[in-house]
């Protein structure tokens, strides 16, 4: 009898996360010291990370597979979960949102992302997207007393639902054409039936581009992101600036490179202009921002534009580049948000970029750390940001997108200005306001991990490159 049940080995990490998250959401009322939840999340994330590396194989009728492609992305998600958990406690306490549900929602979102990364079935992909999105909508709206938090959550929810509809429609076309929801079967059928030039398939690809464009915030589907980033609690912003984005790219890899691999020409044609638009719009709009969360929102739009270059390349190397890029991006971006959190006090947002004026004088170490993250985001060696950028540029160049790469490097030169502006304020202007730093051991650990990640992988990126390559090796033919 037991033998007829599917083996659950492949979903052990996800099962663990869901179980712990459900328990945490339930017992929140009875547990006073909220540090329990923080520690539970940290430990769960670490255990899940270990399980991710140990589990292998497919389950549920080959619709879900713990393959190496998924392993890399799951590593990113769990890293994000870990870092975000580390920078949450003090800040969340201040905003009175440091409760079990917060961590539970983070874990549910991460579970959704993991589903997206490991799925081999588009229905399951949709479930993953929804699980992730719904959790994040709630997280964005956690500060429901604040108007901007509500506004951000509302915008995110409405536009996100809209994107989900596009996703469903795209899947419908795909199912209609191939009579299957399994990604590998779809890929085979597309080839078999000679569908690569089919109009309906092209339409499906276009709809996928729109849906994923929303999720990873490609221009012109980025409208929600500055508002949602600004309105959400900063710890959540740190989470959503990397996690859901990476999940979106994981799904893009599955759908575009595998299922729609045959009609590469069509979706490349759609993604190239989007990528150019994204990189330049993000870079230019970031120049005029004065709220640092909005600024980083636009910056993360630009970074999505770079990351999509790897998908556009459409090769193994390109996918590996995007994966490495997202992994390295997690360190610097979450690090930057952690620094923003440091400045937050009860009656002081610390979100205006002029609050950073003269920080090097009052808090030299914090300023130095922020400087490091900002230069990494700019992509100046010897930081991780440069390695990531170099990798995606290289992959896109190799695939023949020379002009796209030239556009990308020029956009990165424009994008340097907003970061430089913050450095300028921190280092070259006298302090005007009294700024205090609230440093908890958690956030210190989070910052330490981020700084080490940015520096270590900036100087010695070989392990990341090798691992990303190894994970992509079996993914594409």
């Amino acid at each position: 009898m037991w033998s007829s049940l599917p083996s659950f080995v492949a979903v052990y990490p996800e099962a663990l996360l869901v179980t712990v998250a459900s328990i945490m959401a339930l017992v929140d009322r009875w547990i006073r010291p909220k540090a329990v939840f923080t520690w539970a999340t940290i430990i769960t994330a670490l255990v899940a990370l270990g399980l991710v590396f140990l589990t292998q194989g497919a389950t549920f009728g080959a619709s879900y597979a713990a393959d190496s492609y998924g392993v890399f992305f799951k590593m990113i998600f769990l890293l994000v979960l870990l870092l975000v958990t580390l920078l949450s406690p003090g800040y969340n306490q201040l905003l009175k949102i440091n409760f079990g549900e917060y961590y539970a929602l983070l874990m549910f979102a991460v579970t959704g992302m993991m589903l997206m990364a490991s799925t081999r079935d588009i229905i399951l992909l949709y479930l993953g997207v929804e699980l992730m999105s719904l959790s994040v909508y709630v997280l964005v709206g956690l500060l429901y007393n604040e108007l901007r938090s509500l506004e951000g959550a509302m915008k995110y929810f409405l536009l996100g639902s809209f994107a989900s509809a596009f996703l469903l429609l795209a899947m419908t076309y795909l199912y209609g054409l191939t009579a299957s929801t399994n990604i590998e079967v779809i890929a085979k059928k597309v080839l078999e039936y000679g569908l690569s030039g089919n109009k309906a398939l092209a339409l499906s690809a276009a709809l996928f581009v729109i849906a994923f464009g929303f999720k990873v915030a490609l221009v012109p589907f980025h409208m929600w992101s500055p508002d949602a980033y600004e309105g959400a609690p900063t710890s959540v912003t740190a989470f959503m600036s990397v996690g859901p984005k990476a999940a979106g790219f994981a799904a893009m890899g599955r759908v575009f490179l595998v299922a729609l691999g045959a009609s590469k020409l069509e979706w490349t044609q759609l993604l190239v202009p989007l990528a150019v638009l994204t990189m330049f719009t993000g870079a230019i709009l970031a120049v005029v921002q004065t709220n640092i969360k909005r600024l980083l929102a636009y910056s993360s739009i630009t970074h999505a534009g770079y990351a999509v270059l790897g998908i556009i390349a459409g090769t193994k190397e390109g996918m590996a580049a995007t994966m490495a890029y997202l992994f390295l991006y997690a360190f610097m971006n979450i690090g930057a948000f952690a620094t923003i959190i440091l400045l937050r006090r009860k009656d002081f947002l610390g979100e205006n970029i002029y609050d950073y004026q003269g920080l090097s004088k009052t808090h030299p170490t914090v300023a130095l750390v922020m400087l490091l993250f900002l230069f990494s985001l700019t992509g100046i060696p010897p930081t991780a940001g440069f390695i990531g950028k170099f990798y995606v540029f290289r992959a896109a160049f190799e695939a023949g997108h020379v002009w796209l790469v030239i556009g990308a490097v020029l956009a990165s030169a424009i994008a340097a200005y907003p970061y430089l502006r913050i450095v300028m304020l921190m280092y070259m202007k006298p302090p005007e306001k009294e700024v205090e730093i609230t440093l908890t051991p958690y956030i210190f650990a989070g910052l330490l991990v981020s700084v080490l990640g940015v520096l270590l992988f900036g100087v010695y990126p070989a392990p990341v490159i090798d691992f990303a390559r190894a994970c992509c090796a079996g993914f594409l033919p």
Binding site: S360, V405, A416, Y417, M424, M428
Partner: protein, 512 residues
């Protein structure tokens, strides 16, 4: 071209590069005691110079390949290695960088009073990155140092600079970054073609002309901004004017040499065909820089700005020498880079010395300094004459060799370039006259003369000006072999017909 390697028994170059980095890390944990920090940095830079000195004597001048080579695998996945080495083209720059670092510490002893720790960290990191640029034999490593140097330099100008420093530093950063990222695209292309970042391997690549043409311009973007060549020179006057004295000295002394070094090391050896084909446009740009920079100098009212524009003119001579592709001229260009580093660096130090006392850079605020500060005036006189290129000073040797070589390859360029010498004499002498002679301006009356520390910083420069001016042979001997083999490589490459140059040129405007 096969380049011979001579491995190092002791990782000398690594020691030279990483010692300042270690020093910077040590500074980070040192207490904020300004005196201690200054002395510590001085000791670090002195030790670094002492380690670099053996290069001067151990360097085998009869060997044309790379010496003191170190090679270790670094990022295997991309075939990147930690690959260092020097030849006759780069060895002198390392010595100059080490020397200038010491002088920068001395010269900012009293000028920098704010964030002393950060200043010295930035200074040491800049110095390390600059030496890394000159030693790298791996393109990736080179680019790493090349870009990494931007961060401390951005901070040096932006934090310790003059009133308009924010504008100047952003402009500096963005100009350089745009140039560098275009080079990055070129580097990626070369890497994908050659499968390696090894500079010596890429030299053997022998790409067809239409690739070389585009790559030449991609690399040109980075180097021309750094040199700076006309018309992308506009960041330099701003950066020089606003930078603190040490920043100006580094900029003039080493940083802008990196561009010219890049032309020599990469543009000529990677793209010999394109370099030959683009010779005339490059010479034209150089002549424009010489004459235009000189004429602009005549109209300057700010001491530092004048010297900054004179840099544009002098670096025009350097690129003129490089792209005339003639042995004497190339050697002259390398020597002139060193000379310009010494002379202009010294001039900026001199300006810094009076600026500390008067806090004005306007020429009209000075006058009659020769009676107020006679020793200072004597120093300034020597550097002025060296800048003009008076026989007996190093400037003469460099400019003479460049013009000699250029005359042999393109007469018109030499004739027009020589104009620059005349204009140079006009603006430098005019400057000297207005600042040191005439009535004593009440604003400068009673200024104390140079101090011991300042003399100590200026003496090595003075010494080098006269040594190179009177007996340049030992310095030129470093270059002979390397320059000869480089030019053999360039002239050995197949030439392109004139019609193809025109055709390829038209492709830029009208894609085929």
């Amino acid at each position: 071209m096969e380049v011979a390697l001579r491995m190092a028994e002791f990782p000398l170059l690594s020691a030279i590069i990483w010692l300042p980095v270690l020093g910077a890390i040590a500074l980070l944990i040192l207490p904020r005691n300004d005196r201690l920090i200054r002395w510590f940095t001085l000791v670090v830079s002195l030790v670094d110079f002492a380690i670099a000195l053996p290069l001067f004597s151990w360097f085998d001048k009869s060997f044309s390949g790379m010496q003191f080579v170190e090679k270790h695998t670094w990022i295997k996945a991309w075939n990147i290695s930690y690959f260092l080495g020097v030849d006759g083209i780069s060895v002198l720059f390392i010595l100059l960088s080490a020397l200038i670092t010491i002088l920068c510490v001395l010269i900012s002893w009293e000028a920098v009073t704010e964030k002393v720790k950060e200043f010295h960290i930035a200074l040491l990191l800049t110095s390390a990155a600059m030496m890394g640029v000159f030693c790298s034999l791996d393109l990736f490593l080179f680019y790493l140092f090349w870009e990494a140097m931007l961060i401390p330099m951005y901070l040096i100008i932006g934090i310790w600079g003059g009133p308009n420093r924010l504008y100047a530093t952003i402009k500096f950063f963005l100009y350089t970054l745009v140039g560098s990222v275009l080079m990055l695209v070129g580097i990626i292309f070369l890497y994908l073609k050659a499968g390696t970042f090894n500079i010596l391997e890429i030299m053997k690549l022998g790409l067809p002309y239409h690739f070389q043409f585009w790559l030449f311009w991609a690399f040109f973007a980075a180097f021309a901004v750094k040199v700076p060549m006309w018309p992308v020179h506009t960041w330099l006057p701003d950066a020089h004017t606003e930078a603190p004295t040490a920043g100006s000295v580094i900029l003039a002394g080493i940083l802008i040499k990196m561009g010219a070094y890049g032309f020599l090391r990469f543009s000529l050896s990677f793209f010999p065909v394109a370099a030959k084909a683009m010779m005339v446009p490059m010479l034209v740009l150089s002549v424009i820089a010489i004459v235009y920079g000189g004429i602009i100098c005549l109209a300057q009212t700010d001491l530092k700005r004048l010297i900054a524009y004179s840099s544009v003119s002098h670096m025009g001579f350097v690129t003129l020498g490089i792209f005339s592709l003639e042995g004497n001229a190339v050697e002259g260009a390398i020597l002139q880079m060193i000379n310009h580093g010494i002379v202009t660096g010294a001039l900026f130090m001199c300006v810094g010395i009076v600026y500390e006392r008067t806090h004005t850079r306007a020429i009209k605020d000075y006058g009659g300094l020769a009676t107020v500060m006679p020793i200072y005036a004597a120093f300034f006189m020597v550097f002025t004459l060296a800048s003009i290129g008076l026989p007996g000073t190093n400037g003469f040797i460099g400019e003479f060799l460049i013009l000699l070589g250029t005359f042999a390859s393109k007469r018109w360029a030499a004739a027009l370039g020589a104009l620059g010498v005349i204009i140079g004499a006009a603006y430098m002498l005019r400057l000297y006259q207005q600042v040191f002679y005439q009535e004593v301006n009440p604003k400068v009356a009673g200024l104390p003369d140079v101090k011991m520390r300042e003399v100590l910083a200026l003496i090595p420069m003075l010494f080098l000006v006269l040594i190179i001016g009177c007996y340049p042979t030992p310095f030129l001997a470093f270059m002979h072999e390397s320059v000869r083999s480089l030019l053999e490589h360039v002239h050995g490459a197949s030439a392109v017909s004139f019609s193809e140059i025109i055709k390829e040129g038209l492709h830029v405007v009208l894609p085929s």
